[in-house]
């Protein structure tokens, strides 16, 4: 019998390069759009240019004449108008929910909504023919402004609902018994001499997730099981939802998410296009593909954020917070996405953040408008809340004339107070805000930068320095099923893994999470390697195919490691337990005398042992099994966490504001994040960097803007401003480690932390630089134009309203189509 002579090094904690990157970086993988099936047909979707309109008629005759066109269908032709795309999160019992068809039948409710579909032998032919479909629209009033949409007599997006309000969701700590009444505390503060009430309104602009790989779906209806490949984050949810939505037998469906190029929440969906592709494939009995263009993606894939936040904080003059009142308006867009209405509600638990707030009220109204729907986007609800509270902490500090970090220290939960149950009823298991903050302040040279700031002010430098803080926590690792149930979410939050021990000692580990760029294959292999004592390269992680991985709840909410990773640990433990009696039999020893370390069962006190691979081979042969033991050491486990995980950290940002031009340049960015046990430091750092880029981009660059007719102005990547590496700086990142006590690995999620934390740090820094000129707020993104306008306007506030409400629509057509572009003074640039 072979035994392992060199016990493998500890994999957990090693900065392994990502094993999946070779195929991803060299382009050798097969994305959904690369699926090539004999006889594949292609579709192109005809979309409404209007935000709100009645469809009077659709003439498909010219399109049908194009050689190579197989069919042109309106919604009714394929039953797409009768479909009700699912919303899995009815946040209140009486929430108003419009029917969301796969293609619009009689009315379109946002610009970009599909109204017809062309099927052809090539994507080019489908696109050519789609241009020939004539749709007769009767334009209706668009509904664009949330406050106007809720006013009496407002035009209704969905007249049949009788209102533009989707739902109102309220949490009041006085009523819940987890704290006092915020209303009473604020009223009292208004009368008290030693307290002040600080009120602010913040806006969360609309964002587009802009995942790298556009969405794509291929449906092959020709096999016994209908197979759908899709660039999705949620193959399992998609499969079950397709069965429920379309009445298809679930066992006749197979969904495959091959390598998926990013999602950031944008691919948590049962997309209308996925359903249309399926309906067309079924109608024709042929395989069909849909792949979106980048413009289609920007226009129709769900957007994120878009809130108006009205906050009030009651605080004693020496900085003790007494109450927090939060009123939100959240734009749902035209329909409800898969989890759309629940996104702002996740924020309800996070506005109180790391602070001990004795009285808290959260009141959110979700509003329908004639815009692209909003749904999960990296952080989902938590960036909004973190922005609100961390901006507010700076505002309160300014009102009180306090150093902003001192105000935070005065109110945060100290490390001795964990576990701590918050005013919004969550129990934070562990954390150490003091430690992360101290380390961050040192790395940042906080005092030194404050001195530099002072000197620049005194000199009246053109470039002024601003310093911003964000001391954040978040809830992630979605989620305890029990909690999701109490929030009326439509599914659980468990996760599953199966481990298959192959005869040669190699391991296949099947997971129910569905990675799409995070590096799961690497991190999960490290866990399996340690738990089974096998080599890192001897582990294959299988995911994203409902045939191999039949059970799972997919990837979002920083859950894959904190929930899915624990299922892997549990499955590995079961493998070892199943192997133990067989190993004992092989060693002619008693099970009780065996210990399992580094992949080897050995008899305590002797050098006798067998490796887990030996057991796997013995089980394969099954010639000599102990009595009553089945020849199988594979195992399957499901983990349902008892609590969320609560990563936290301190982010410090310094910016230089060019006071002549309004340009904001990042100057220094330090973050110390506590994400519990780190499985792979390289991956953690990558997640933090990417998260920071996205959070900083919300602060400085990105905005999905609509014009007054409801047309998306930022419909190309020329108009939707994304930063590149050239616009960011080298981030100084570090970790403190306070292991989570709610899971055996001690891990917390890291996928969203950087995005959640960074936005307020940057905006606080920008304001810190320009408050000296009387500026008190600047809407995001804090563009040079807005910053300059704020500095120059007497009132000192800026943002919406004091600028021309036009982006640069259209495109520079040059001599190719100069007849169109001539005189178009707003030409964009190509």
């Amino acid at each position: 019998m072979t035994t392992t002579d060199n016990p493998p090094v500890q994999e957990i904690g090693r900065d392994r390069r990502r094993k999946e990157d070779r195929r991803l970086i060299t382009g050798r993988t097969r994305w959904t759009d690369n699926q090539a099936i004999t006889g594949l047909l292609h579709i192109s979707i005809v979309r409404s240019p209007f935000a709100h309109a009645e469809i009077k008629g659709i003439d498909t005759s010219a399109a049908k004449q194009v050689p190579g066109v197989v069919g042109v269908y309106t919604a009714a032709d394929i039953g797409a108008d009768a479909v009700q795309l699912p919303c899995a999160w009815p946040i209140t019992k009486d929430m108003k929910s419009p029917q969301r068809p796969a293609l619009a039948g009689s009315r379109v409710n946002f610009a970009g909504e599909g109204v017809a579909v062309v099927v052809a032998r090539s994507a080019a032919i489908a696109k050519d023919a789609a241009e020939l479909v004539e749709v007769d629209y009767d334009e209706l009033e668009p509904v664009l402004d949330m406050e106007a949409a809720l006013a009496d007599g407002a035009t209704l997006v969905h007249p049949e609902l009788g209102t533009n309000e989707n739902a109102q969701w309220v949490f009041d700590s006085g009523e819940a018994g987890s704290g006092g009444s915020a209303a009473e505390a604020i009223a009292a503060a208004e009368k008290a001499d030693d307290q002040v009430v600080v009120r602010r309104r913040f806006r969360q602009q609309r964002l587009v997730p802009v995942f790298m790989e556009p969405r794509s779906t291929v449906v092959d209806p020709t096999g016994e099981q209908l197979t759908m490949w899709s660039a999705t984050q949620v193959p399992h949810i998609l499969k079950t939802m397709l069965a429920l939505t379309l009445g298809l037998p679930e066992h006749k469906l197979r969904v495959i998410a091959p390598d998926v190029g990013g999602g950031f929440g944008g691919k948590i969906a049962v997309a209308p296009e996925e359903v249309v592709t399926l309906l067309v494939a079924q109608k024709l009995g042929k395989p069909v593909k849909w792949t979106e263009t980048r413009s289609e993606s920007l226009l129709t894939a769900h957007h994120g954020r878009d809130q108006i936040q009205d906050l009030a904080v009651a605080v004693t003059k020496d900085g003790q917070i007494k109450a927090l009142d939060v009123k939100l308006l959240a734009d749902m867009g035209a329909y409800l996405g898969l989890v759309g209405p629940g996104v702002p509600i996740l924020g309800a638990f996070m506005f109180n953040a790391i602070y001990k707030i004795p009285a808290y009220r959260f009141d959110c109204r979700n509003v329908f408008t004639t815009k692209t729907l909003t749904d999960a986007y990296r952080g989902a609800g938590r960036p909004e809340a973190t922005f609100g509270i961390e901006r507010m902490m700076d505002e309160v500090a300014v009102e009180l004339g306090m150093e902003p970090m001192e105000l935070r220290k005065k109110n945060w939960i100290s490390h001795e107070e964990f576990p701590f149950t918050t005013v919004s009823t969550l129990t934070y298991d562990t954390g150490n805000y003091e430690a992360a903050t101290e380390q961050a302040m040192t790395m940042f040279d906080y005092d030194g930068l404050r001195r530099e700031q002072q000197q620049r002010r005194q000199r009246g430098d053109v470039k002024q320095l601003g310093i911003g803080i964000s001391t954040f926590t978040e809830m992630c690792g979605l989620a305890p099923s029990r909690v999701l149930g109490s929030l009326d979410y439509g599914a659980g939050g468990w996760e599953t893994s199966s481990i298959r021990m192959l005869p040669t000692g190699k391991v296949e580990c099947v997971v129910g999470t569905s990675g799409h760029g995070q590096g799961h294959e690497t991190a999960f292999s490290q866990i399996v390697a340690d738990k089974l004592g096998v080599g890192f390269d001897d582990v294959e992680i299988l995911h994203g195919d409902t045939q191999s991985s039949y059970r799972g709840l997919d990837t979002y909410g920083s859950r894959s490691l904190a929930v899915g990773g624990i299922a892997i640990v549990k499955a590995a433990e079961k493998v070892v337990e199943k192997a133990r009696p067989i190993a004992a039999h092989m060693l002619e020893a008693s099970e009780d005398d065996l210990e399992f370390t580094a992949g080897k069962f050995s008899v305590k006190g002797t050098d006798k042992g067998v490796g887990i691979a030996d057991v796997a081979l013995a089980v394969f042969a099954a010639h000599d099994m102990p009595e009553g033991v089945e020849p199988d050491i594979d195992a399957h486990a499901t983990f349902d966490p008892e609590n969320f995980s609560y990563p936290h950290g301190t982010h410090l940002c310094a910016v230089e504001v060019d006071t002549e031009t309004g340009f904001v340049q990042l100057y220094k960015y330090v973050c110390v994040d506590d994400v519990g046990t780190v499985i792979n430091p390289l991956i953690v750092e990558g997640q933090v960097h990417g998260g920071l880029a996205q959070g900083i981009a919300q602060a400085l660059f990105e905005e999905a803007a609509y014009d007054e007719s409801g047309t998306l102005l930022s419909g190309t990547l020329v108009d939707y401003t994304l930063p590149s590496a050239a616009d960011l700086i080298s981030f100084d990142t570090a970790n403190t480690t306070t292991p989570s006590t709610t899971n055996p690995l001690g891990v917390k999620g890291v996928g969203e932390a950087g995005t959640i934390a960074s936005t307020p740090a940057v905006v606080n820094a920008v304001l810190d630089a320009v408050r000296q000129y009387g500026v008190s707020d600047i809407d995001m993104p804090t563009t040079p134009y807005r910053v300059w306008t704020a500095i120059n306007s007497a009132k000192g506030t800026s943002g919406r309203g004091d600028e021309a409400d036009v982006a640069s629509p259209g495109a520079g057509l040059g001599s190719t189509a100069s007849d169109i572009s001539k005189g178009d003074t707003q030409g964009g640039h190509l």
């Binding site: 050239a726 134009y785 982006a807 001599s815 572009s821 190509l830």
Partner: protein
């Protein structure tokens, strides 16, 4: 995105290209580097029936000296312009401006001729071309003509290139020993200019003896800041004099308003950036 279908030819001489253009009529279009042209096709904002690719014509590519001029072939790529020794020595401003265009990939395909023929008001190469008093060489069936830059840019996306004509070269006078700076203002590194200022100045023992300044995106065409130029000439170099002169930068401009900038902000930027550009050019 997928463009509509079109025919494609790749001539090897200018004469062949002109012939193809004339034969093709209204719906025939020239393609240089394709960096503006192909996006237009892909967004289906143009659907020519014939595309004439100038990429196969060697005589259109390269930089050479011709007496007191530097001649740049229309198909010379941005990348080549940024690396060329003759340009660095004699026409530094165009090289400086070209370095700010887009990213590496685009600079390896896009061409000087294509950028000027495209005449996007936010394009970075028209303002330096105007400031440098270049001549644009245009060839048609009736032979060659030379158009001064001041007459070349007519309107948004509109130039003096007529039907059946091709831009073949750009001829720059020599500015040997002049300082140059292209001061570009945009929101992210690889974006188009919100406003930019092209400045090249000659300084002799502390006195500005000559200056050329062009503005990007301050009107439908590039604009020459002549008031600033004349205010500078004869002045001794100092931050105050330069900034004072730069106050005239927005004279005669008519900038647009969009989400990135209102016209008042553009005018303000023109003044600030002109000051900075001249100081950097002189420094």
């Amino acid at each position: 995105m997928i463009p509509a279908s079109f025919d494609y030819v790749r001539p090897t001489t200018v004469d062949e290209a002109v012939q193809a253009l004339v034969d093709g009529g209204e719906d025939a279009k020239i393609m240089a580097g394709g960096q503006s042209f192909i996006p237009v096709l892909r967004l289906r904002m143009g659907d020519p029936s014939l595309v004439i690719d100038l990429g196969g014509i060697p005589e259109l590519r390269g930089v050479r000296e011709d007496g007191d001029q530097i001649v740049v072939g229309a198909m010379t790529t941005h990348h080549e312009v940024t690396r060329d020794d003759l340009l660095a020595r004699h026409v530094a401003l165009i090289a400086e401006a070209t370095k700010t265009v887009a990213d590496f990939q685009v600079r390896h395909r896009g061409t000087l001729g294509g950028a000027l023929a495209h005449a996007d008001p936010a394009g970075d190469l028209a303002a330096p071309t105007l400031a440098l008093d270049a001549e644009l060489v245009i060839v048609g069936q009736n032979g060659e003509r030379r158009v001064p830059a001041a007459d070349f840019f007519e309107d948004y996306f509109t130039t003096a290139i007529g039907p059946g004509e091709i831009l073949t070269a750009i001829r720059f006078p020599k500015y040997t020993g002049w300082g140059a700076r292209y001061e570009k203002f945009n929101r992210v590194a690889q974006a188009w200019s919100i406003v930019a200022v092209a400045a090249t100045v000659k300084v002799d023992s502390g006195t500005i003896t000559d200056a050329r300044i062009g503005l990007t995106n301050m009107a439908g065409t590039p604009v020459r800041a002549r008031a600033v130029e004349s205010a500078l000439v004869g002045q001794s170099m100092s931050e105050e004099t330069v900034r004072a002169a730069a106050q005239a930068a927005a004279e005669g401009t008519s900038p647009t308003s969009d989400a990135d900038a209102g016209s008042d902000y553009r005018e303000h930027l023109a003044r600030v950036l002109t000051g900075r550009a001249v100081l950097a050019a002189a420094g």
